[in-house]
Symmetry: C2
């Protein structure tokens, strides 16, 4: 399947109904995953606030993990060494261990494992990986999944703005800077990582209101400012919206604003993510690089073995 | 006090012995703070793992905050609107509310308040703000504080490498990219924010091993790569050290490596932070911008009132 075909499967991915059986009592949720699999926990942490959610993207788990922890290990390949290391530590601590994977070693580590279809690039399998969490903890009933799927199908058919923006970034040779805000901080981070992997570009993500306490100074006075292209999202609260406008004004910076469609935060999150998929894909094509190529990441994995 | 004199007070700041009386039972720690005050919770979260630590840099607290939460509100001015908003929500939920502040509205909100000396820029008061947390939760006994103070005094007397590096970045007109790793991820972020505020430069921070899953592609193939200057730290674990070397190799990128002095993680953390203070200060002087000027941040605060 070529990379564009992979992108188009997202609308089917979000229809999967798999979920975990949650223990009656738990104190916290710890989610381990790296890169295109790790984004799942990060996005989820912005949507779920009933218990503390701690996302790990390293080799070890924190001391507090115990039998009252729900630990979720996510790796599309099932062979990510950091995630396997965290999962085996969590098992030793007696945590409730849930796994989402397409196969590999991770699929053999716990009875509570959801096996999702393999064969895609991890970053193109976000729907498969995140739906078990949304179904389990955020009541994504079939009607909501179907509505979400329709929205993503609509993005597949109409993403002219994403194409135009992706093209413009490449042709003007800009470094993208994406400013999110809650609950879309990690959408901004996802865009950054998609520019990294698909477009092979350095990129920056940051978020309001925190960035007002530091980046406000650099936005006004940095050198090389014309090398960067600033993007933010529409649909924020009034407080954040005022901050966006005020930041543009005091720093004399123009932000390109992408307005999400959707009727709730989950739909808007997916809309923006899919927009970013097409945008970074187009940036790759305009730069004449292969969006599907992740050979340096593979080279690195071989080198550190 | 001029900005350089402010930097030199860090060695005295770390001597303060204030601490909070911790309740016998608590489930989690939630720390609210923005920018130069918010970095306190972020740095602490990498050092303390006995209970979940959630850092907030926005207006609202998560639903799980309750009477078994230790909530710590940190604002040097005491008038940061995001932190005041979180603190008043935490009080309503019946959390144990601790405050660290130099004054302002925040100093009136809880009985458990540590008032620290005011009059500095918040980012120059890190020692005052973080020591109450380290004293309370990480056994920073007087001997450890004194040893730390001596180390920082030594940095005040010898920081030639920081000066040279700060100068080089400005003269070569580079955008700094700082790659940290646990427990120094937020040291990298601190350097980024110091380049923003002191040097008025855009900067990027990221961390191993997560960056190997996305930035590895951009490091090899991005355009404008010569506009960036890549820095990382010495003293990592063998696994991370191998990753740093492999990343340089597969992406044909050279990282400038800063080696921390110190006998434990807290000392190394402070050493690197103070190194970054002098480095970003020197970048400002070489660019002929005022490191103490935060007028855009002040302009913005007035505009959103």
């Amino acid at each position: 399947m070529d990379f564009l075909d992979e992108l188009k499967t997202l609308k089917e991915q979000v229809l999967i109904g798999d979920f975990f059986k949650v223990p009656e009592h738990f104190n916290n949720i710890v989610i381990a995953g790296m890169g295109g699999s790790g984004i799942v926990g990060k996005l989820f942490s912005e949507l779920y606030h009933i218990k503390p959610v701690i996302c790990l993207d390293d080799y070890n788990i924190p001391e507090f993990v115990d039998k009252d922890t729900i630990f979720i290990g996510i790796s599309y390949s099932g062979n990510t060494e950091e995630t396997i290391s965290c999962t085996s530590e969590a098992l030793k601590k007696g945590a409730h261990v849930f796994i989402v994977t397409g196969g590999g070693k991770l699929s053999q580590m716990s009875e509570n494992t959801i096996i999702i279809p393999s064969g895609l690039q991890p970053r193109s399998a976000l729907g498969y990986m995140i739906m078990p969490l949304l179904n389990t903890f955020l009541h994504m009933v079939p009607e909501r999944r179907e509505r979400l799927s329709e929205l993503l199908g609509a993005v597949d058919n109409h993403h002219e703005e994403a194409i135009e923006l992706g093209k413009r970034i490449a042709l003007e040779r800009k470094i993208p800077v994406i400013f999110g805000f809650s609950p879309f901080r990690y959408v901004a981070y996802r865009w950054k990582t998609q520019f990294n992997e698909n477009s092979k570009l350095l990129a920056i993500s940051n978020y309001f209101p925190e960035l007002n306490h530091n980046d406000t100074m650099s936005l006004r006075d940095t050198y090389l400012k014309d090398d960067f292209f600033f993007i933010t999202f529409g649909g924020s609260t009034e407080k954040i919206s005022k901050r966006i406008q005020a930041t543009e004004k005091v720093t004399s910076t123009q932000f390109f604003m992408v307005h999400p469609l959707g009727t709730d935060d989950i739909e808007k999150m997916f809309y923006l993510i899919h927009f970013g998929d097409y945008m970074s894909f187009e940036t790759a094509l305009s730069r004449e690089v292969d969006p599907g190529d992740v050979s340096s990441i593979e080279d690195l994995k071989r080198l550190i073995k």
